[in-house]
Symmetry: C2
Subunit: 312 residues, 2 copies
């Protein structure tokens, strides 16, 4: 069934062989080729890619579909070399669960005052602090797309008082939802911990600037698992220095890898992870990739197509 054509794979982060095996398990006829091993670019009909180099798509004249190997497509949509084809992203509940797991870890760590006890252990001191009831802990989730909504629901399950903010109106059981620019100040003012889960778009770039960071209660905690550029990094650094922001868990940064001269590295009140809050999962995402390949073959519209103009 060579009519399917080939799929080219590119990622600096993901394991080609694991993806190849998972995809071929779903669709044995699909030939998956690493971008360095393509001998007949005209045979390539699909591209499964994460941040391919500029000019990557030029040699594939018969490309029919681009699949972003992840949920966030901001690195793809702004490219001048993006072909005029359907672009899809992964929409995998298991990715949402993995992201929510990271968020749960980070929020529970603050709610249970783990950094305080780590500090006490350094001294060392047995420094008892009676835990707060979770309903007294107000957590805000900024961005209620698939990933944000999933994480917010898991936070509700822990008993936290959860506030949600999004661009457009959303309803999530147990979450106090607000939306639109006018509602943002009130949302920020009531959250001791906020979790940034917005997609990066022209509207969200730099949204959390000095002004908005100052609207949070003094000493608030920030967890960023979306994109570094949603927060003005210099404003965040400054707010961490002044104590306006008490603590931060940062998985994403304006520039990645985070430059070694960034003051964030040395801040005791900051936990840095190298952009891995969630990753594409071969076993659970392969069926939807294969489904879209078959849709293209059958002339049907693909699922999880992104709107390039909107940015996600």
């Amino acid at each position: 069934m060579s009519s399917l054509g080939q799929m080219v794979f590119y990622s600096d982060f993901d394991d080609f062989n694991v993806w190849k095996e998972a995809l071929q398990h779903c669709l044995p006829e699909l030939e998956i080729v690493h971008s360095t091993a393509v001998t007949h670019p005209e045979k390539v009909h699909y591209a499964l890619v994460w941040k391919p180099p500029q000019g990557f798509f030029a040699r594939f004249d018969n490309l029919k579909l681009v699949i972003n190997l992840g949920a966030g497509v901001d690195s793809l949509v702004g490219r001048p070399d993006l072909p005029d084809l359907p672009i899809t992203r992964l929409s995998d509940p298991n990715m949402a669960r993995m992201m929510a797991g990271y968020v749960l870890f980070a929020v529970l760590r603050y709610a249970r005052e783990i950094p305080y006890f780590e500090q006490a252990q350094q001294e060392p001191a047995w420094s008892y602090r009676h835990p707060r009831s979770p309903e007294d802990v107000h957590v805000g989730v900024l961005g209620l797309g698939e990933l944000g909504a999933y994480a917010a629901t898991e936070l509700v399950r822990q008993g936290f008082t959860v506030h949600g903010w999004s661009r457009s109106q959303k309803e999530i059981e147990g979450v106090c939802c607000s939306y639109g620019t006018a509602a943002l100040p009130a949302f920020l003012g009531q959250c001791e911990t906020i979790v940034v889960m917005l997609p990066l778009t022209p509207e969200t770039r730099g949204l959390l600037d000095e002004h908005h960071l100052n609207l949070l209660p003094r000493g608030a905690n920030i967890i960023n698992v979306s994109r570094g550029e949603v927060i003005v990094e210099d404003a965040l650094i400054n707010a961490l220095k002044t104590g306006q922001i008490g603590q931060a868990t940062l998985d994403v940064f304006t520039k990645e890898p985070l430059p070694l001269d960034s003051p964030l590295w040395a801040m005791q009140q900051v936990l840095i992870t190298p952009h891995l809050a969630s990753v594409a999962l071969p076993l659970s995402s392969s069926p939807q990739i294969v489904d879209n390949v078959l849709r293209i073959c059958g002339g049907k519209p693909v699922l999880h197509q992104i709107e390039v103009m909107r940015g996600y």
Copy 2:
């Protein structure tokens, strides 16, 4: 309605006024008195206590019910001065949730390799490690009572492969359950992280000794939220030194507060918290306390009564 009698309160950890308010909200006729303010001990019919001093009960001749202000009753059942009365413990889903929150935090921290990234931040280094799929992470829950079963279910929800072990046969959806002494070695051998949630009884005291710790895969992680005495602390310290145990999150210890000369304090691979994985919650536990008071008044059997001989 003075026929209800008084309730005496004792705890070095819990806030008397918060408990008094929560209980009186449920049953305004109930008079709650702090143990230091009792003027007529003969009027005291109920004792709501956490680790009261030896001899505490002697002056209360008309006591009808002892309520342990917590889930674990090991500190109460072994006492020589325990009156021959119904003893109840708290059984509150919100306490189970709080405990599960701590367990989730600790398991996610290991599953997502946070200590590794904290180390990288010290250098500093952007040291990417691709996250593992949660189903590849095998977590074992030792003890499947109310608290253990709840935590195991939450771990299943995160996608981990969860094994459970208990004294008697249990079935929990999504958990691979085994039971009895003969099954313990196989259980231990397959868990990269174990969570100790057993009650402390004569049977579980010192259960995790050198022999059993050696049955875990090399470098396994231990999370203990039950009682320190379930693990032979010297054996644990030794296993941490040799690397047989890779990391530990310890909320409980053989002696509390943990003595400042314990080698555990200085171990980088150990996270110490001062016995607060879960605490009694006034709002959610007061209704069941009041319910038992009314049952005593009505001559009915109380709920959540402990079997002193069995130890829990």
